[in-house]
């Protein structure tokens, strides 16, 4: 706390670009104990499970963080009431991965009005007043990355058959991913020939893929939105004995990356969608409440908006990403 | 063989001694505890106290299986067959012909065929699904099941209630065969005439206590039996009919009414104060005629007219608002909401009248129901009692009370005394007469021909969905009706 005040005054007129408080050591140092409320959607598939586990693990690292977890719902009504509970309890900060960004906006605004900073993770609120900071994965960017990679691989074959296996279609993020994918493909003159949507589950991936493969006897490239359902997708591909195409995954599970590393399946690449967003959210919330800044940034305050990159992982760079990948 | 026990709430000290080869009749009013008694013997209920002796040995019957293993087979009052299974499967239910769980379908069918022939129904295929059978034939399946086991004692709880006179004859023949083989039969019926015919000895139960044990049928007079059952003297005769005024208006008129495939061309007129009876065999279509008049079944031809207005076909509401009331054949499944209090059953057709703007006035409703059930001497006359706890006769009275509260010009009564004891019967007969005298037009359907003849002013004899004759009831007797029916179905 003291550090921040000095930082502010010191930062006034000088060109000093190294705030004293924002060192890694300074940020790790124990501060006042704070209570962070965390609420996320039902951990009903690998990525979300990883999100929650990473958040909890992150909170466990700090003795000065008391995490209140209310994870586990796809019901906006219930999640709103969980946030209300946090407001009632006057927690110090709320990290919220909303089941639907727009639906949770009002209650987040109420929390902000009650003086509780809200960190919005992954699915964005519909109002900028609803969150003090926002950490987003780039869903549209994921689609773009996957599409661009496929364009590169397929080169200049305008008749190439591109198939897409989406996640839960009624989620806005699925729509964004598909939109990005379609955009990138159209830049090289391709389009999605066959599209099915699964439900982010292994079984759903398997079932829809086996149907898709029957419907499309010849495929050149396939993008699967989610590596967790990808296990099922690959099982179906194996069962059908198909290997004429390249497959790109999504989210970036350790499992998928090991396959890419082995380079003996159709799985050639995956697009990372970081599963550490909520953990980052917890960390930001702690810094925010303890009035610290981010290390490696000159800025003395926590930024409003952080959009995480959606890099493509291939056999060339897989070593770099494997350590932070999530186990499904 | 000796069984005696006392106990269950419904049974407070009943003794019953059955000897091999006899037909032992159990008599008692509705709710006296007859069915409860036999269910205790068949292992369906456990007695709270008392002892059962089987061939001199004291035993306990732990469940239905134990009873069956002892050789006690039971035909229950509520039909106890399974619709989805074939006749043979029903007959051998619980003791299937099988090795290692695999059924011997053919041998079961063959054995069932034998038993059915023995019962005089060789024409019924054992492979038929029981759901397709009439109530009478289901009763036969029930009987075949009892015979399929090696039994020493067969208990029959009101087997004749759903049978017509022909079938009853058949039943008696089988009973005689059984007793000749030394098998004992316990026979329960409300029809005293039947008991006179086949019974050897009688046990009378009243209010869960036995009033008389092992009376010889031959030595006991009917009034004596009735006194034992009811504790009072009941004139088991039909109330005298008062002649209808010659100018009494026609209230109900059916013109060439028909339901395709069931009955056709039924024309009848009922005048105010008149009781018309429909006689015929089981399955002749009598219930269907009532249902068609009432709109519960859509007629495909002809018209129903009440007081000069033609009713819309297939509309119960139209019939009810025109002043027709129906007391259906199956009291429990078609008539009453058993878990609701009495008064709500009484006002089921008219509760709208006790409401203002849709809001009910239960106090007035209860009051109106109370008036009627007191007038009908319902026992107990508490409008808040759950209907299920009442005896059959009293439940029947609730149905009559329903239409008394509603107020009807025409009353259709389908089997108004089925399963009702002698005492209550006499009361219901009196009631029907009083209603007629008050100007209600009444149609009565009953499987007991003497009842139709005794109650009605005029009788329509029905066979195979067609009206054979219409006569005044005093111009025809029971053999006459039967004769007509036989000739009608032969033609």
């Amino acid at each position: 706390v003291v550090g921040l005040i000095t930082g502010c005054t010191a930062g006034g007129a000088t060109t000093n670009t190294q705030p004293t408080n924002a060192s890694v050591e300074g940020n790790e140092a124990q501060g006042d104990t704070i209570t962070i409320g965390y609420s996320g959607p039902a951990a009903d598939h690998g990525w979300l499970g990883a999100i929650n586990n990473a958040a909890i693990a992150e909170a466990d690292k700090y003795d000065d963080v008391d995490l209140r977890i209310a994870e586990g719902t796809n019901d906006a009504n219930l999640q709103i009431s969980q946030v209300e509970t946090f407001i009632n309890d006057k927690v110090d900060a709320i990290v919220l991965l909303p089941t639907d960004g727009a639906a949770l906006t009002q209650v987040a605004i109420r929390a902000m009005e009650a003086g509780i900073p809200v960190i919005n993770v992954d699915r964005e609120f519909s109002s900028t007043f609803a969150a003090r900071a926002t950490i987003l994965g780039d869903n549209y960017g994921m689609g773009v990355s996957a599409g661009t990679y496929i364009c590169e691989e397929l080169g200049d074959n305008p008749d190439a058959v591109v198939a897409e296996i989406a996640g839960i279609d009624s989620l806005p993020l699925t729509q964004e991913r598909s939109a990005g994918f379609a955009k990138a493909l159209s830049d090289c003159g391709l389009s999605v020939t066959n599209r099915v949507s699964a439900d982010f589950t292994v079984a759903g991936g398997e079932a829809t893929t086996s149907q898709l493969l029957a419907a499309a006897p010849q495929i050149d490239a396939l993008w699967n939105h989610d590596d967790d359902q990808g296990i099922g997708v690959l099982a179906a591909i194996d069962a059908a004995g198909r290997d004429e195409f390249i497959m790109v995954g999504g989210a970036g599970s350790a499992n998928a990356m090991r396959l890419i590393q082995a380079d003996d399946s159709v799985m050639k690449a995956t697009v990372v969608y970081p599963s550490t967003q909520a953990a980052d959210g917890i960390r930001l919330a702690r810094l925010l409440v303890q009035e610290k800044a981010m290390s490696d940034l000159v800025e003395v305050e926590i930024p409003n908006r952080i959009v995480l990159n959606a890099p493509v992982v291939t056999s060339e760079n897989v070593e770099k990403y494997l350590p932070t990948a999530f186990e499904s | 063989m000796r069984k005696s026990f006392a106990g269950v709430k419904a049974l407070q000290g009943v003794d019953l001694v059955v000897r091999p080869g006899e037909v032992h009749c159990v008599l008692g009013q509705n709710g006296a505890g007859k069915s409860t008694l036999i269910k205790t013997l068949s292992g369906a209920y456990q007695p709270d106290s008392g002892e059962i002796f089987w061939q001199g040995e004291p035993i306990t019957i732990g469940g239905p299986v134990a009873a069956l293993e002892l050789g006690i087979a039971t035909m229950y009052q509520e039909l106890d067959v399974v619709d989805g299974l074939t006749i043979a499967e029903n007959v051998f239910l619980g003791h299937e012909q099988a090795t290692g769980g695999l059924l011997h379908v053919a041998s079961a069918n063959a054995r069932t065929e034998q038993i059915l022939s023995r019962l005089g129904h060789g024409e019924i295929s054992p492979r038929m699904e029981v759901g397709q059978l009439s109530a009478a034939n289901k009763q036969i399946v029930s009987m075949a099941r009892a015979l399929s086991r090696d039994t020493r004692l067969i208990i029959m709880d009101e087997p004749s209630a759903v049978l017509d006179s022909q079938e009853v004859e058949n039943l008696f023949r089988v009973v005689a065969e059984l007793t000749a083989q030394g098998i004992a039969v316990v026979y329960i019926s409300h029809r005293l005439a039947e008991i006179r015919r086949i019974g050897d000895r009688i046990t009378v139960i009243k209010d869960g206590k036995s009033m008389a044990n092992g009376l010889s049928v031959a030595d006991t007079s009917t009034p004596e039996l009735i006194r034992l059952m009811t504790g009072r003297d009941v004139a088991n005769v039909f109330p005298a009919a008062t002649p209808i005024a010659a100018d009494a208006p026609v209230v109900l008129a059916c013109h060439r009414l028909g339901v395709r495939g069931v009955f056709s061309n039924v024309s009848l007129e009922v005048r105010a104060g008149e009781v018309v009876g429909l006689a015929g065999l089981v399955g002749s279509g009598r219930s269907e005629i009532l249902e068609a008049i009432y709109g519960a079944r859509r007629s495909t031809s002809g018209t129903v007219t009440v007081n000069g207005t033609v009713l819309r076909a297939g509309s119960v509401e139209a019939a009810v608002s025109a002043g027709i009331g129906l007391s259906p054949e199956e009291r429990k499944s078609q008539g009453l909401i058993l878990d609701e209090p009495i008064f709500k059953n009484v006002t089921l057709s008219s509760f709208g009248r006790f409401a203002r703007g849709g809001f009910l006035n239960e106090r007035r409703e209860r009051q109106a129901a109370r008036e009627q059930i007191e007038a009908l001497e319902l026992r107990p006359a508490d409008p808040d009692l759950v209907t299920r706890t009442l005896s059959g006769g009293n439940q029947q009275k609730i149905l009559l009370a329903r239409w008394l509260v509603h107020g009807t010009a025409v009353l259709l009564l389908d089997e108004p005394t089925r399963g009702v004891d002698v005492g209550a019967r006499a009361e219901i007969y009196g009631l029907i007469r009083r209603l007629a005298e008050a100007g209600t037009a009444i149609i009565v359907v009953s499987s007991e021909i003497d009842e139709v003849l005794g109650l009605a002013d005029r009788v329509l004899v029905i066979s195979d969905g067609a009206v054979l004759t219409t006569t005044n009831s005093n111009e025809i007797d029971e053999p006459g009706v039967l004769d007509l029916v036989m000739r009608g179905s032969a033609a």
Binding site: A42, L67, R68, G72, N74, D75, A76, N77, L78, I80, S81, Q82, T85, N88, D100, G101, A102, A103, T105, Q106, S126, D169, S170, L171, P172, T174 | V8, K9, A10, G31, G33, K39, Y45, A296, V316, V320, S321, L326, P328, S333, Q334, G335, L336, I337, L338, D339, E340, K344, L348, S349, F351, G352, A355, G358, F359, L360, P380, D384, V386, T389
Partner: protein, 344 residues
């Protein structure tokens, strides 16, 4: 369905039931029948207070619990009628989603901006009632088993909602609408008022009107009701329309609470609703229903969720506990109900 086993137990003959007095009847009727629930509820509050102390036992927290319960609770009222009438409505969750989607369509929002925010409400209620009407007609006149007809609607209405919304989340812009639903009246949130009004209206309708009497009669014995002159089929259609109407109300409440309409609103709501209603003491075979029980049932479930959240327990643990509690509650419920007066 499924009742068969319970019926297999020999009915207990009660030959000489003495007529209960008026007071005894009322006690036996209302409190007695709900005693199991009240005990369960009290226990849950005790556990909440012991484990989470003041955080749990605060006015704010109770408001949160009830506000959470209010949307599902409204649907429970409609479902109580359907189950009492001997039916079941699996489609309520999907209908909630569908009505929220249709009511928040751009066209509707534009029209409502020009007229009144009530238009949004009217549209949602109309959509819900219409879906209920379709259910009712298919069941009553088509003769399709209620379970299947409403299962079909469950699948179909969700698909329709997705098609109509093009699977996007539709944000409501009408500020009057939003501020109405965000407002408090006498310190109590509007959502809770709506729940209260629907519950009281439902109670009066079920217990004090001819409509309610018919509902119980039809559920108790449809054939006897028909032969007594009640228009059973038409009444069943009304009952399903009522259930659809409450789903429409819940759709509006979702709109007000979340400010968005989406096809995912109300997913799996039907399970919670049916569980609450049956745990509340309404018989699944029909013929007996209690609004008070249903309300208690849903309050128990939402308190349970709150206690678990307060204690940092995951949904997985919560689900296991919920499973156990449903069974225990139904068992308790049966015990006390059969003491209050004979059922079955």
């Amino acid at each position: 369905m499924s009742e068969q086993i319970t019926q297999a137990a020999p009915p207990i003959p009660q030959a000489h039931v003495s007529p209960p007095g008026r007071l005894k009847r009322t006690l036996g009727g209302s409190v007695g029948r709900n005693l199991g629930l009240v005990i369960a509820f009290a226990l849950l509050i005790l556990v909440g207070t012991l484990t989470a102390g003041d955080r749990f036992a605060s006015v704010d927290n109770f408001v949160t619990i009830i506000r959470f319960a209010s949307i599902v609770g409204v649907v429970c009222v409609g479902m109580t009628f359907v189950i009492t009438a001997g039916g079941i409505d699996l489609s309520v969750g999907s209908v909630v989603g569908l009505s929220s989607v249709v009511a928040s369509l751009t066209a509707v929002q534009l029209a409502s901006a020009q007229s009144s925010w009530l238009l949004i409400v009217v549209v949602a209620l109309a959509v819900g009632t219409l879906a209920g009407f379709v259910n009712g007609v298919v069941i009553a006149y088509g003769g399709v088993v209620a379970f299947m007809a409403t299962l079909a609607m469950l699948v179909g209405a969700r698909g329709l909602a997705e098609l109509i919304s093009n699977r996007s989340t539709q944000i409501v812009n009408n500020q009057e609408f939003l501020s109405f639903f965000r407002a408090d009246l006498l310190g109590v949130p509007i959502l809770i008022w709506i729940f209260l009004i629907v519950a009281v209206a439902g109670w009066v309708l079920l217990n004090r009107t001819t409509f309610g009497r018919r509902t119980v009669a039809v559920g108790g014995n449809a054939e006897a009701s028909r032969l007594a002159g009640i228009k059973v089929k038409r009444h069943m259609v009304y009952v399903y329309m009522l259930s659809g109407l409450t789903a429409g109300i819940a759709g509006v409440m979702f709109l007000g609470r979340t400010t968005v309409g989406t096809s995912t609103h109300g997913t799996l709501l039907e399970l919670d609703v049916i569980a609450a209603v049956v745990v509340g003491g309404t018989l699944l075979i029909g013929g007996r229903g209690t609004i008070v029980g249903s309300v208690l049932g849903i309050l128990i479930f939402s308190t349970l969720t709150n206690v678990f959240t307060q204690n940092n327990l995951s949904t997985s643990v919560q689900n296991v506990a919920k499973g156990v509690i449903i069974v225990v509650a139904v068992l308790l419920q049966q015990r006390f109900a059969s003491r209050g007066s004979r059922s079955k």
